[in-house]
Amino acid sequence: MKNLTQLFTAFLAIGLLIGGLSTSARAQSGDGFFPAIGTPPNPEVDARWDHYYNYKGITDLTKELAEAHPDLIKRQSIGQSVNGREIWALTVTNFQNGNPDNKPGIYIDGNIHSNEIQGAEMSLYTAWYLAETFGDIDYITNLLDQKVFYIVPTINPDAREHYMQEPNTPHTPRSGLKPVDDDGDGRYDEDGFDDLDGNGHITLMRRKTDRGNYRVDPKYPNKMNRVEDDEFGNYEILGYEGKDNDGDGEVNEDRVGYYDPNRDWAWNWQPDYIQRGAYKYPFSLPENRAVADFVLDHPNIAAAQSYHNSGGMILRGPGAREDVDTYNDQDVEVYNQLGNKGEKLLPGYDYLVVYKDLYSVFGGELDWFYGGRGIFTFSNELWTSYLMFNEEENSSEDRYQFNKNLLFGSAFVDWKEYDHPTYGKIEIGGFKKNFGRAHPGFLLEEDAHRNMAFTIYHAYQTPHLVIDEIDEKDLGGGLTQVTAVVTNTRIIPTHASQDLKNNIERPDYISIDGANVQAGMIVKNRDMNQTVEQKHSPAKLEVDNIPGMESVVVRWIISNNDDYTVTVNSAKGGVASKSK
């Protein structure tokens, strides 16, 4: 056994050497570096993963990627945002190998909540990594031969830009930019934040008072601590930077947007008075409509990931408690297999269920993908406080310590005096908008890689159909019995049980061409010879589902014995053929 292991190690080492050699011509051409394992050593597109791309950055990078890898990446706009920005989508697959529409697909998007920006970087990194390692890493080469990735880095480009270019908190805008009358006074977006200190970050306002409920922390002078209920502090917190712009006695009550794009999806959608943030009706926001139309046009999408932040979660539905019965046992089993792997690949991330571990919410994107289309879908909540010190438990001090010792204080706007028109002498300060939810640069690439690895695992586990066996038996009288075995070698079935329950997607077709078919049947039990005949169009048998890691058996009685071909054609499982 030990010998065997040693032998194997030796083989691996040789393999690595050969692998290394293939790229060494470029990697060691005097550029002054040596490749790190797992990272494309000399990419065609020299992208950086320690900063965030604004709209121009996304537009340029997606264009560059498509131009540098014309056989692997195609870029298209799937629609326009409220303010007319193109929503860029990358189709990543080996276009030289098969029709992408016939390959099982994974759909990945980011940034539906506009302040949750790094989903775009996770998405872009994925496209970049797949294209830059294709041909060098066999696993990736095979993956792009067999699968297709549909990657939409941002599905909320207007408000992403607003988050970056305009004064915001880490939590805003979240919405898109369609103007909404939040406070119902007939005016739209008339009282937003005011960047009183003019630094592009909306931080907090505090005021000194003997009857306050906050005190400055003795160790971290930027930190405000709430005092005990029976004590007075020397500060009060007045909320985020702002003024009463419309003179209605309220501050910042009608900011840009209002609605929540992740309450706009057509599965158990409920209106705003039930589910705050819903807009007029599902897909009443053009960005979401573009995604929905794209997904409806691509029935080969069998898996999906929608990136959010934050908290370190791998979330599945149901979003709403009322939808518990929609997710039944067989599908939950598939989710669990994928989600548990995700927990391993993503230290600090937990595999959770939205309605019971987060909150119960109607009309979310992952519920439409699964409930409405039968697509196995996760939402990863990117960034977790675990990543600060790789510790499960965090105290309220840790953010200040992380800022002090790892970011050297650059994440905080120090408290400064300000003369406010309503509140008088106040102080303004707090964490910057790009801290707390977005990754610090030095941790971004690692998390992008790990999250990508999870979506690659997810994509790999979409159905892969092979025709294992074609068996002939002479029945006499010129009749031959042909039995074919089709196996799905991955975890995800061609039809989720939610799909089967509602006939969302067409059945899988297993057909025989070139034979004179007399009868066709689905074999329920091959050993016991239990079959169900399909009377209409027997040459094209309809199979409800090819479950994950299982086989289906079909049979034809044919009256010639020439060459014929058996083909399985599945919307989500792809196409495979075998000739006699």
Binding site: D183, G184, D185, G186, G247, D248, G249, A266, W267, W269, Q270, P271, D272, Y273, I274, K280, Y281, P282, F283, S284, A292, L296, E322, W368, G371, G372, N502, N503, I504, R506, P507, K535, H536, S537, E542
Partner: protein, 550 residues
């Protein structure tokens, strides 16, 4: 009587054969085709240009316009409005006709002062035919009761689209029913009227002897007949409340259709002044008001009208029954995904719906009301009495799917049970016009009353006023109070130079004011000068007081 009815029936059948026209000259003739509807709407707009404005909400996949005629004058956007909508269910031609004729009747009466006043203070958004693509099928060479628009849909969700539609087996241009003599069949002729087929009840000792299908072939040989023909999404199943996912005709997801979205976009964004939606469709809460269900208003997803709104429904229902000569409406519940429920539960407005017509009471020779257990038999009895040629007699046809069986085609003509003979429409339309007019007169109506100013000390003045709703309708339904798409009543005080506010709200949003109820407001101001008080919302109209303190 029955014998005479049958005689008449067979005579008219004979007549039909003799005339042998492609489009039958029958009692149903007179309903407007899309082209006729369009012409009538355009004529109304040009004849009454000061009161009527025609626009298209969208163009359908079948390249027809969804017309909306706005009736009113002045600042129509800020007058309380009733949306009058027909034809969400395509085969319900009567609904279209009643909506169209409502507009026509109202405009024809604009010489009357009362109607002029109504149109100067109230707006009507009339959408006579939401699903023109479906409705047109009852005017086509091959007539059937179609509720689906022109979207290509896979109704049986088996992969192929529109692969198994109807066939006109008896060549009469109508799709009716088909019965196949078969010992294994579950259907049998109804004992009280053998033209009608009913399911046999073995628990009543009955045995079926027929299979019963709609008229056509099993084109895709899947054992089901006509389960996926042309005719896409039924718009009255595609709204967002209680949406029936994955059922035939409901569409791929809620609000998937242009027509629904165009209507909802208009009502949400522009129709802020709508206080009631009056739709003509299958549901009927005018003959019988909705019921209050306490559990239904306490859940997260509200599924019952609120008590106060039910009370108003009762009042409006009484008003309806007083206007309508047709009595004894059958119970007609709301349907999943329909317009009627959307208008209340999601749009937040009072929603009223009626089919506009149903089989009237059938009396026997002694003028006694006859009771029926089967609605088709009841309809046919009425049709016989009134010489309505509504039935295609069962006739044998050769059917390739049943080579060795006796197959007959027949049944009630498509659309007949929904749409009365056209000669009935004028009087129905007048009664419904009178009803809608009356309903509209009860609109929420905010007025500023009991206005006073008094000195409250040196250089201080107290201003007080009551914001009063002079209508019967509240300024928001109980459900609407929670709904951000229903504007609250805004009360504001604007001070000119020389005046400053000492106490009171410069602006205040009032959730709702019930009919004949008021909300009191007062302010303390300092100094001299002009001020303006304004109260209202698009749903109530606006009222203003301008004064000066010297």
């Amino acid at each position: 009587m029955k014998a005479i009815g049958k005689l008449l029936l067979s005579l008219s059948v004979l007549g039909m054969f003799v005339l042998c026209q492609p489009r039958q000259a029958d009692a149903q003739d007179g309903y407007s085709t899309y082209e006729e509807l369009t012409n009538q709407l355009q004529d109304l707009e040009s004849s009454y240009s000061s009161y009527a404005n025609l626009q298209s909400l969208t163009t359908t996949l079948g390249d027809r316009k969804v017309w909306m005629l706005t009736l009113g004058s002045g600042d129509v956007k800020n007058h309380p409005a009733v949306a009058v909508i027909g034809g969400a269910k395509g085969s319900h031609l009567l609904g279209s006709e009643l909506a169209l004729k409502f507009a026509e009747n109202l405009l024809n009466q604009t010489s009357q002062d009362s109607i002029q006043q109504l149109l100067e203070s109230t707006t009507f958004y009339v959408v006579p035919r939401l699903n023109p693509d479906a409705a047109e099928q009852l005017f086509a060479d091959l007539k059937y009761a179609r509720d689906g628009n022109a979207k290509a849909t896979d109704d049986d969700r088996d992969g192929p689209v529109n692969e198994d539609g109807f066939e006109d087996l008896n060549g009469d241009g109508l799709i009716t029913m088909m019965r196949v003599k078969d010992q294994a069949g579950k259907w049998m002729p109804y004992s009280n009227d053998e033209r009608v087929m009913v399911k046999a009840d073995i628990n009543d000792g009955q045995r079926g002897s027929y299979q019963y299908y709609s008229e056509g072939r099993d084109n895709d040989q899947d054992g089901k007949y006509n389960e996926d023909g042309e005719g896409g999404v039924n718009l009255n199943k595609n709204f967002t409340y209680d949406y029936p996912n994955f059922t035939p005709g409901a569409g791929e997801h809620m609000a998937s259709e242009k027509e629904n979205r165009a209507l909802m976009n208009f009502l949400y964004e522009k129709g802020k002044n709508v206080f009631a939606v009056m739709s003509f469709g299958p549901a009927n809460n005018l003959s019988k008001p909705v019921k209050f269900n306490k559990g239904g208003v306490e859940k997260r997803v509200i599924s019952s009208w609120f008590k106060e709104d039910v009370a108003l429904n009762k009042y409006i229902s009484k008003m309806y029954k007083d206007e309508l000569s047709l009595k004894d409406a059958p119970s007609a519940p709301a349907q999943p995904g329909d317009l009627f429920q959307w208008a209340y539960f999601h749009y937040g407005r009072f929603s009223f719906s009626t089919p506009g017509w149903w089989t009237p009471v059938v009396t026997d020779s002694a003028d006694e009301k006859q009771s029926f257990k089967n609605n088709k038999a009841e309809y046919l009895a009425w049709a016989d009495q009134h010489d309505v040629d509504a039935f295609v007699e069962w006739t044998e046809v050769d059917h390739p799917d049943f080579p060795n069986k006796k197959v007959e085609v027949g049944g009630i003509k498509p659309g007949y049970m929904l749409n009365p003979p056209y000669e009935k429409v004028d009087s129905l339309a007048q009664q419904h016009t009178d009803f809608i007019t009356k309903l509209a007169e009860d609109h929420p109506d905010v007025k500023l009353i009991n206005f006073e100013t008094e000195s409250a000390g040196d250089n201080l003045t107290r201003i007080s006023v009551d914001v009063y709703n002079d209508g019967v309708f509240p300024t928001a339904s109980k459900l609407g109070e929670r709904n951000r798409w229903v504007r609250k009543v805004k009360l504001s005080l604007t001070l000119g130079d020389g005046l400053s506010l000492v106490s009171g709200d410069r602006m205040r949003m009032i959730d709702s004011i019930a009919g004949d109820d008021d909300v009191k407001a007062s302010w303390l101001v300092r100094g001299d000068g002009d001020f303006t008080i304004e109260a209202g919302a698009p749903i109530t109209g606006f009222s203003t007081i301008e004064q000066t303190i010297n």
